[in-house]
Every structure is written in C-alpha cells, then in structure tokens.
C-alpha cells in the first residue's frame, strides 16, 4: 500500500521523508511544497481545514515561478484594468479568479488566512464559482503581497474581469431574488387577510372589518404589482412588439386587470377582491424564473473563469531598456521579448532566432510548429524552446486570436433559434382566452349587466396562466439539475428542446474525439547494444530542458541521469552529446519498418546514424467516442469531422469511429463555412469541440458542447460543458431531453385541461375568489410535482 501525501493525496515518492504534525499526528507529505503549505496552515491555527475538507488539496510540487511576476500587478496602469477604486481613496476592490478550490473548506481557509493580513479589508470566496472578492488598502499592503499569500497556502489567484454577460446575470439574479422576497412576504400577509375575507361567506363580517382588510390587502399588494411583477410586463411588452405574444402576456393581463378591478371593488365596497391570487401568481412565477436563471448562471460562471487568452503583460525592448507594459499598449513594429514557455502577447515576426511553437490554442494540434527568422508567430501560442524576440505585426486588438473572437461573437449573434413549444402555446392561449373573456362579457352584459364585469374578471383570474407559465420553466430547471448531476452543465435551456431534433453532428478531432495528449504506446529496440531502459533514459536526458509535449512524455518514462552537452534544436528533433557520443532524437523517415498504425508519431533515437530505438507516441481516441458515434447512428444523425490536422491521422480516426464525412486541414473560417452551408440546407446541427478554432462553430451551431478541459473561448461559445471530458454523456443528454419534452407536454396537457374544466364554472359565475386561489395553487403544485419527476433517473 503506497503512502499517500496527507495534503494533496499524491503518492509519496520512495526514499523521501517529509512530515508535518497535524491534528496531533505525524502526517506524510510528498514534497517540500506540500510540507511548507501544511506547516503554514497549522501554524496559523487553521487546522480545522484538514478536519472538515471534503477533497484533497492541489499538489504543490510545481509551485509556479510566477511569484516574481506578481509584482507587475502592482503597477497602477495595469491595476486600472481590473481593480476599481472605492470611495475611500486608499481602498481598492477587485475580483480574483482562484485556482485550486476543491471544496468549501478551501474557501474558508483562504478567507481566514487572508483576513489575518494587515490591510486586507474584506475577502469573500465563493466555492461554486472559484472567485474571491477582495477589498484592500493599497497603502498598507500591495496586491502582489496578497496574491503571494494565496500561493503560501497553495492556491493560485489572479485578477480578472468578469465578462459582461456574467455581470448582467449576477445583477439579474439579485434583482429576481429581491422581487421574489417582496412577493413572498406580501403573499403570506395577504393570504392571511384573504382567509378572513373568505370566512365572510360563512359568517357575516361587520362592514368596517371588511373594508379594513381589503384596504390592507391593497396596500400590501401594491409593491407586488408595481415592483415584483415588472419583469413580466417588460417581457410581455417586448413579445407583443415583435408580434409573437409570449407566456407573459396572459400573466401580465391577469395581474393588471385583477388588480385594477380589486382596487375598484375596494373603493366602491362591492364586488370581489383578488389580491391574494395576484400576489401568489407573482410569487410562484418568480420562484420558477429564479430557479431557472440560477441553474444557468452556475454554468456560465464556471466557464467564465478566464485565464488570459492573450496575456495582460508584455516585455517591450526599446534601445536595450526592458519595459513591462500592458499588452494592449503594444503597437506595430514594437520589439518584444518572450520567455521560453510563455504565451505570446501579439502576432509578430521572429528576429534572429528560431523555435518551436505550441499552436494548440489556435489550431488544436498538439504537434509544435517550427518557425525560423522571418516567420510569423501568433498571439496565444506558446514559445517552447528559448527566449525569443519578435517584431509586432498585429497588436492584441487585431491579432489572429482576436479575429477568431470576433468571428465567434458574430456567429453567436446569427445563431438560429428554433421557436420554443411554450411560445406556440402562449400564442394560441392568449387569443383563445381573450375571445372567451369577450364572449363572457357580452353574454352577461345582456343577461345581468351588474355581474358582467366581475364574472369576466373571474374568468381571467381563474383560468390561471400560472400553471401554464410554470409548465416549461420547472421542467427545464429540473432537467438542468439532473444533467448537472450527470456532468453536463447547461448554459442555455433551449438545448433541451433542440437536441433531439438534430440531423447532423460536427466533431473536432484533437482533444474532442481524441484525448489530445500524447502517450507512449510502444518502444522498439532496433539495436542490441543497449537495453530498453537505457534507450528511454538517454531519450529522457536529451529532452531534459525541452518544453515540447513529446519531451514531457519521454521524460515521464525514463530517468534523466545523463548529462548532455551541446544540445541543439533542429527542425525535426534535437541532437546532443552524452559521454562523447552524438545522439539524435527526432522524426526520421529513413526506416522502412512497418511499425505502427497511423494515429501515431514515431520518434527515433539514433547515434552516429545507427538506429537505436523507436518510440511510438499516440494521441488516443477516447473510449466513449465510439459509444457516442454508435448511438448517433441509431438516431439517424449524420456525423462529420472538422479538423485542422492535415495529416493522415483524421482518416484513421474517422475509419475507427465510422464517421460519415471528414474535412481536414481546416482553418477556423473554413469550419464555420461548412457549418453555415449545412444550416442553409435547413439541417439542425450539433457541434462538439474544445479549441479556440472551434469557437465560431460552437457559437453558430444550433446546439453545441465544449469539453471542460478545452480552451476558455470554446467553453464560452458553447451551449453546454462536458465535465470530465466524457463525450459519451451526450447520449444521456439526448435521453434526458426526450423525457423533458414528454414531461412538458404532460404539464401543458394538465394545465390546459384544468383551465377547460374551470372555464364553464367561471363563465357561469360560480367561481368565488377562494376557489380561484385554491385552483391556482393546486394546479401549480401538480405541474411542479410532475416536473420533479425529472430529478429521478
């Protein structure tokens, strides 16, 4: 049984001994990093963290060297971008995105540890969204010191700006909560008075109490009608303006008319009042809307934790002075310096240097591209080998990554929306209801004119658009919740209706259908002079300082025990000298051995032109991809692969998974073009992707999923996230959507059925206010209860 680190849960390497006394016992640690953090936590009196946490902490062995760079965030020009000054001049506020929060105890730990620092005025950490709001006195403590404090206990924090969409959502959510609270409080009070008024039927109540209760009810209903229900009026008005009456039209009509009539009744002392029905209407509907919004908000926040797609800072060189400036201040022809392993802040031309670049962010391909002096390197890509200097050709505003962003926003704006079932029903319902109400009024005006108005009103109130309005939102909320439990985070609820209707499914290859990570699958010894382990050790030693994905794989397999001299980077690999022997490690097409299938890449180790070993690396296809594609076949959905990879690899993957059509070597604009072409033919499309280059297609498709491990742009553009990268879950989503549709239809059937039953009673003048209120509550409960069935499997 291997010993595991008490702090992070990783295996403790043999022949190491780091321990910390926590909660009275000596605990094993896996590395000095974890040990340091654990000691600090205990010394600060925060050991309850260990007692109550539900998840292990982050492994601390790879503490980033970014701590030195944190001081950049103190520069005022840069802080202006994300921090806001408070009324008190020395105080500043900002939102931080925090990495490494795994459970509620983490949030508590951070808050306690940071509150102990002098100058930190307020810190609140939100577990669900991994955010922290921070207010600090800039004269007493610097932001970099605060960020370092995060590092001390093992978390990475950086300032960021929430995207607009998210800020709006937060505000809307809070506003709904306030309105809900008002409606709730009012409903409870008014209901009490209403019951007293109902009793009037059984025992006659003295007139002054009647008047009194009615006036008090009116007073309490005022905030409901003029504040809490306002979102309904707004939506109703908007939907009418576009000529398609939505669900909120009957709701608003009922509220306004019932309130006016009840006021009139109160002032003229005759007729019925419906204040309790109005308040309850509003309350139930607000609750429904609120839960729906909150489910969506969670998903949006999770995706919005932005690392910078394009880094905030750049190092500019002007006549040998090195300047750190915000990247957005870069201009064309500036010369900037980029460290090895860092992300490029702008598009530029390489000056007097050459290096490999990881362009995965843009093309999705993990195979690094080699560029020499004069070639253009792109913002958002990672420089792998060494420090480079580039002359800026496109500053962040116009660089390729930003252009993809624009493309994505445009595609999002043009995203086709299939009309929701609820909207169809709403249209017919409004027309039907108004006609019946008109007919009722006409009849009673002829039969018994004094009653006409009250009976017509009771028709409007009793037919209760309440249950009808709750039919879809409650089902959506429950379905969203269920899907979240399965690991699918929905950002839009329209996906629930559209997913079962798709006819074509588009997939990205690398990172979506495949894992996107290289693994070593085969080592072939081609010489008898050394053992397999030796070959791996030599390879690992050669790759020691290289930042290539292939290097990482080889380093994991072998021990880096040989010192290497004269390490040189070539376009197809590296060469180095170990123990006076010259080795070459790289791609070589010299062999005619039929080694492996086509998903692989083979790296050859040669010494003085003698082949020593061949390492086969493969980007593995995810197991669930096959299941998903088989499932889609049973649903008669055509499958298409859209990939930027121009090699033979896509053909192999497509063959293995039985994909109908492949398009390879595509740029982002090409992918989008294929999607639009498909949509113009009237098909309904699904897209699954993970890279920046998938962004526009994810935004423009009818329904889209992004992998949780994908790029932030992809996650922001898609309608839903697949947690755990389990692409097979899409079939679960299909089933859930179909069930949801059934439940919604049942809800509508019930609501309409109820309305039809109570209509004759209302038209003939039999419905008293208490019956209207009761009917509304019961029918709403039935709809909610039916929707709750979605929470079970």
């Amino acid at each position: 049984m291997p010993l595991t680190c008490f702090h992070c849960g990783d295996v403790v390497p043999e022949d190491t001994s780091y321990t910390v006394t926590i909660l009275g016992k000596e605990r094993a640690m896996c590395c000095p990093g974890c040990q340091a953090v654990a000691e600090l936590i205990v010394a600060s009196g925060l050991s309850s963290y260990y007692q109550h946490r539900t998840e292990p902490a982050r492994n601390m062995s790879d503490l980033p060297q970014e701590i030195a760079d944190l001081t950049h965030y103190d520069i005022d020009a840069i802080q202006e971008e994300f921090a806001t000054a408070c009324a008190d001049e020395n105080m500043r506020e900002t939102v931080l995105s925090v990495e490494g929060i795994n459970c509620a105890a983490c949030a508590w730990l951070i808050e306690r540890h940071l509150s102990q620092k002098k100058g930190v005025h307020h810190i609140q950490v939100n577990t669900g969204s991994s955010r922290a709001t921070l207010k600090w006195a800039n004269t007493q403590i610097k932001l970099s010191e605060i960020l370092t404090a995060f590092h001390e206990i093992g978390y990475k924090a950086y300032p960021f700006q929430p995207i607009e969409q998210e800020q709006d959502y937060s505000k809307t959510l809070q506003s709904y909560m306030r309105r809900m609270g008002v409606a709730g409080l009012a409903s409870m009070q008014v209901m009490m008075y209403a019951i007293a008024l109902y009793m009037d039927i059984f025992e006659h109540m003295p007139a002054e109490f009647l008047k009194y209760f009615r006036w008090v009810s009116l007073l309490l209903t005022l905030p409901v009608v003029f504040y809490a229900a306002v979102p309904f009026y707004r939506n109703a008005w908007n939907s009418l303006r576009f000529g398609a009456p939505g669900m909120d039209v009957p709701v608003s009509l009922a509220i306004i008319l019932a309130f006016s009539a009840s006021c009139f009744a109160t002032m003229t002392h005759h007729g019925d009042v419906y204040f309790e029905s109005i308040s309850m209407f509003t309350f139930f509907l607000l609750v429904g809307r609120f839960f729906e919004m909150r489910a969506r908000n969670k998903a949006i926040r999770t995706t919005a934790n932005l690392t910078h797609l394009i880094p905030a800072l750049a190092t500019r060189l002007t006549d040998t002075i090195r300047d750190t400036i915000p990247a957005k201040h870069l201009e064309i022809n500036d010369i900037i310096e980029v460290q090895a392993g860092a992300i490029l802040p702008a598009d530029g031309v390489l000056l007097n240097c050459s290096a490999h670049f990881d362009e995965a962010l843009l093309t999705g391909e993990s195979e690094p591209r080699f560029k020499k002096t004069g070639d253009t390197a792109f913002a958002g890509t990672v420089c792998l080998d060494q420090l480079i200097k580039i002359r800026v050709t496109h500053p962040p505003k116009t660089c390729q990554a930003t252009q993809i962003l624009f493309m994505q926003e445009k595609a999002l704006g043009a995203k086709p929306r299939l009309a929701a079932l609820a909207d169809h029903i709403a249209r017919y319902f409004v027309v039907g209801l108004l006609s019946i109400a008109a007919i009722t009024w006409l009849y009673w005006h002829w039969a018994a004119p004094t009653q006409a108005f009250w009976i017509t009103l009771s028709v409007l109130v009793a037919t209760c658009p309440c249950a009808l309005s709750l039919a879809t939102p409650t089902a959506f909320t429950c379905a969203t919740q269920r899907l979240t439990q399965h690991g699918i985070l929905l950002k839009n609820s329209h996906i629930l209706e559209v997913l079962p209707k798709i006819s074509h499914a588009f997939f990205d290859k690398t990172g979506t259908l495949t894992t996107g990570k290289m693994t070593l699958t085969e080592v072939q010894l081609l010489s008898e002079d050394l053992s397999q382990q030796d070959a791996m050790d030599i390879a690992a030693s050669l790759e020691e300082s290289v930042n290539h994905p292939i290097a990482h794989v080889l380093k994991a397999q072998g021990k880096q025990k040989y010192p290497v001299e004269n390490l040189t980077h070539l376009s197809d690999g590296i060469t180095g000298t170990i123990n006076d022997k010259l080795y070459h490690l790289g791609h070589q097409q010299k062999t005619n051995m039929a080694l492996s299938d086509d998903t692989s890449q083979t790296i050859y180790l040669t010494q003085n032109n003698t082949l020593l070993a061949a390492f086969t690396l493969r980007d593995e296809i995810r197991n669930q991809s096959k299941n998903l594609l088989n499932f889609l076949k049973t649903q008669n959905v055509k499958t298409i692969m859209l990939t930027g990879d121009p090699s033979d690899n896509p053909d192999f993957v497509a063959q293995h998974l039985n994909i109908n059509t492949i398009y390879k070597g595509l740029r982002p604009e090409d992918k989008l073009a294929h999607l639009h072409q498909n949509q113009q033919q009237g098909h309904v499309s699904l897209m699954v992707g993970d890279g920046v280059n998938d962004g526009p297609v994810l935004a423009g498709a009818h329904v889209s999923f992004a992998m949780a491990s994908g790029t932030d742009l992809a996650k922001n553009s898609a309608d839903a996230l697949l947690l755990g990268d389990n692409i097979g879950k899409i079939s679960v989503a299909f089933h859930t959507c179909k069930r949801t549709r059934r439940i919604i239809l049942q809800n509508f059937a019930w609501a309409l059925g109820y309305n039809l039953c109570i209509l004759p009673l209302a038209v003939s003048g039999q419905v008293h206010p208490w019956m209207a209120a009761l009917g509304m509550s019961l029918s709403s409960l039935v709809v909610i209860g039916n929707s709750l069935r979605l929470l079970r499997t």
Partner: protein
C-alpha cells in the same frame, strides 16, 4: 375585535423591517454561496479554542 386595528399596522411595520433586512442580505451577497456559509459554523468553532496559537502568529 377592535384590537385588530392596532395589531395589523404593527404587523405591517414588521413586514417592512423584514423586507429591508432581506434586501440588505441580498445586496451583501449572502445568498451567493449557501453551502459554504453553512460550513463556516463548523469550521470556525475550532479556531476559537486556539486563541494562544493565533496570538503567537500575530
């Protein structure tokens, strides 16, 4: 029964106070992370039993 003329206005005052308190709670983000705030009680309890350690830290 005339007492109702007094009781109901008193209730209304309480309702208004409750309303304001609710608004304040919403504004100070107390409904943001309901799970976490619940845990605070459990976690905080222990630090109060270690006042000496905290003093040393300061």
């Amino acid at each position: 029964m005339n007492i109702l003329f007094v009781l109901i206005p008193i209730t209304l005052i309480f309702v208004v106070i409750a309303g304001f308190i609710f608004f304040w709670a919403v504004r100070s983000d107390q409904f943001e992370d309901l799970e976490r705030q619940g845990m605070n009680i459990v976690l905080d309890e222990d630090t109060h039993t270690n006042p000496e350690k905290k003093d040393k830290q300061q």
